[in-house]
Assembly symmetry: C2
Homo-oligomer: 381 residues x 2
């Protein structure tokens, strides 16, 4: 598709932007000790991202022009492809502010947001270090996976010598709607996912639950208008799930598999009736996913999810290495993610079929203004 989104704006693109179908996400380790090199990288990334979201090459010369005795400044696999709705969204991990031993790597420690720290260990976490953490992240979403891959690959190329890929993840199909115009897609449990998502049209909810507001964190004024990104690689035990009875699957989720309606009846968007009695307790069980994570039982808290289905081959036991790459944007992970995840990990019936293999948290700076580089306020304010 030829649709394109501006890179610069009040907020970064790729958050409330209508969720594109394909994802390539990468976390980077910064390998330099120089603050100037880091700023130069963010400047170069900003320029490249702005170009690529317009459907242009990563560099001003492009993949096939310029001196033939030099490497091209674009790798070429997206030649002739339209912008494909590409968005590129950058985030900063805790390690950018302080190293694990507490060192102020780039003179940014005083501005580290209080909520930006390694997420706690939750029950069900079986984290692989090579799929977790990172000093920087880049989320590339597009309608064409070749365009998303091209974006990450070129940003990694530009980072050579300053930052290297720590881990990366492809998502082949969105599991979220971020606009009322989008149909709710299905995750690999076969259920609609994201029905209750915060959507672009819900401006008040975005302000309340997604965007960091002025005064939220006095040390991190630079993050105002930004957000936090929680990334969790959630493997699904799909072979075991597939052997569960339909009514069990539905009772774990709290919704029907067919239409996604709550088990209390109605259609997908009908409000669940958590008090409706069933044969044995409420018709929407106490340990069902929809009940446990519902705002009514969580202080009204909502998230903007932007997850993707993934399949990364299979493991040595002959089962697919597959699941949901969970991405959620929240105003504060301490209020909008950690409590919910703690509760879910302890009580959610679905947890038996989940295993979290990757985890990371990033602060996502606000949009990049004209002439600025991404995150500039962190370095200069």
């Amino acid at each position: 598709m030829a649709r394109s989104y501006a890179f610069r704006g009040t907020h970064q693109a790729g958050i409330v932007t209508p969720a594109q179908d394909r994802l390539h996400f990468a976390a980077f380790d910064v390998t330099t000790e120089s603050r100037d090199d880091l700023v130069a990288l963010l400047t170069a990334w900003t320029e490249a991202a702005e170009r690529m979201t317009k459907g242009e090459g990563a560099g001003p010369i492009g993949p096939t022009q310029g001196a033939s005795n030099l490497p091209p400044d674009d790798t070429g696999e997206a030649i002739g492809l339209p912008p494909s709705g590409l968005t590129i969204t950058f985030g900063f991990g805790p390690g950018l502010f302080r190293s694990e031993d507490g060192k102020d790597r780039f003179g940014l420690a005083a501005k580290q947001p209080a909520a930006l720290k390694t997420l706690p260990h939750f029950p069900g976490d079986m984290l692989e270090p090579t799929r977790s953490g990172g000093d920087l992240c880049v989320q590339a979403c597009a309608d064409d996976p070749q365009v998303a891959v091209h974006a990450i690959r070129n940003l990694a190329r530009i980072a050579f010598g300053t930052a290297s890929v720590r881990w990366s993840q492809l998502g082949f199909g969105r599991t979220s709607t971020t606009s009322v115009d989008q149909d709710t897609p299905r995750n690999l449990f076969g259920f609609k996912d994201g029905t209750q998502n915060v959507k672009a049209e819900e401006k008040d909810d975005l302000s309340e639950h997604v965007w960091v507001a002025d005064g939220d964190d006095p040390k991190a004024a630079w993050l105002t208008g930004g957000s936090y990104l929680v990334a969790r690689r959630i493997n699904m035990r799909i072979e075991v799930w597939d052997r569960q009875a339909l009514e069990d699957q539905e009772s774990f989720v709290g919704r029907t598999k067919d239409t996604g309606a709550p088990l209390s009846g109605g259609t997908e968007f009908t409000k669940p009736d958590f008090d409706m009695p069933g044969h044995d307790g409420p018709v929407i069980p106490d340990d069902s996913h929809v009940r446990l994570v519902h705002p009514d039982f969580n202080g009204g808290v909502r998230m903007l999810r932007r997850g993707y289905n993934f399949v990364d081959g299979s493991n040595d036991l002959g089962v697919l290495n597959a699941g949901l790459f969970f991405l959620a944007y929240v105003r504060n992970p301490d209020t909008h993610f950690v409590p919910l995840q703690t509760k879910m990990a302890a009580h959610d019936a679905m947890m038996e079929y989940l295993q979290v293999t990757g985890s990371a948290l990033f602060a996502v700076p606000p949009g990049t203004g004209p002439g600025e580089y991404v995150g500039q306020a962190l370095f200069e304010a």
Copy 2:
């Protein structure tokens, strides 16, 4: 897209079918010792494949109907999705005929095709056992990756107890054209790939180079009208490639990066002039890829390629685990693949940037007739 292809026919679909954009490929180990179980699996797979290629569920009941106290006979993630051009293509590995210690596992050893054996070790092969081999394979291609994943996942579900996934591979973007109506896509070196591919419209070349003919192998008459499928997972050292000068990249390939024209001039489909002199030897170098694999220097041999770009995250060295999942259909691997690959591995300038991490060979039975199961002639003729 709503296009759909019939599962049954003279040849299996998914070979000359216009190459769809997305791939999920899986190799299976047969875990039963019972020939009847194996036949039952192929029968069940045939029925499920025929249904799914019509856009129906994997089983007759579907994902949300039937008894609520039983698992559904479809996993549901493709509910509401169109057929998306899904094709499902089955193949038989050498291990189906004889185990590694020579045992005739299912009474099929006498019918093993002479050319169906583990491919030789080539220079540049760094094969991972968990990405190589397999008794059975399934290639699922579709316009929507969710549909391809759904197909493999349900076939794996059906196989539970009889066969288990040995390895599987997603491909996010086709690198082949199998029809004159398709544009030539680009691989992750940024170059057009598959310009010289055998296409569906070239009936004589298909007969000469792709389909096994009557009398090709007296022991394997059951394979007449079928083909051999060579699967090779080729990692590209893309970070190193990206630091090569444009003219070097082009000299390795023997074509321009921009239009894909041979370095001797013209357009993408202009016949290369291998005798045209350059500054230092022929303008299309002796060790260029296009020259080494060209039919003119290989006894006229051609293949039908059906490869896909892949990115499977990154490795511990901070580089993308990415490349080309090479799939090629040939009439006989001993004449149409092994000599070419031997020559390429020894002389091709591009080999410096390639590392083969997976390898497998399968015999692909002919199309499945009405009322038959796939490969029936092998078991009953």
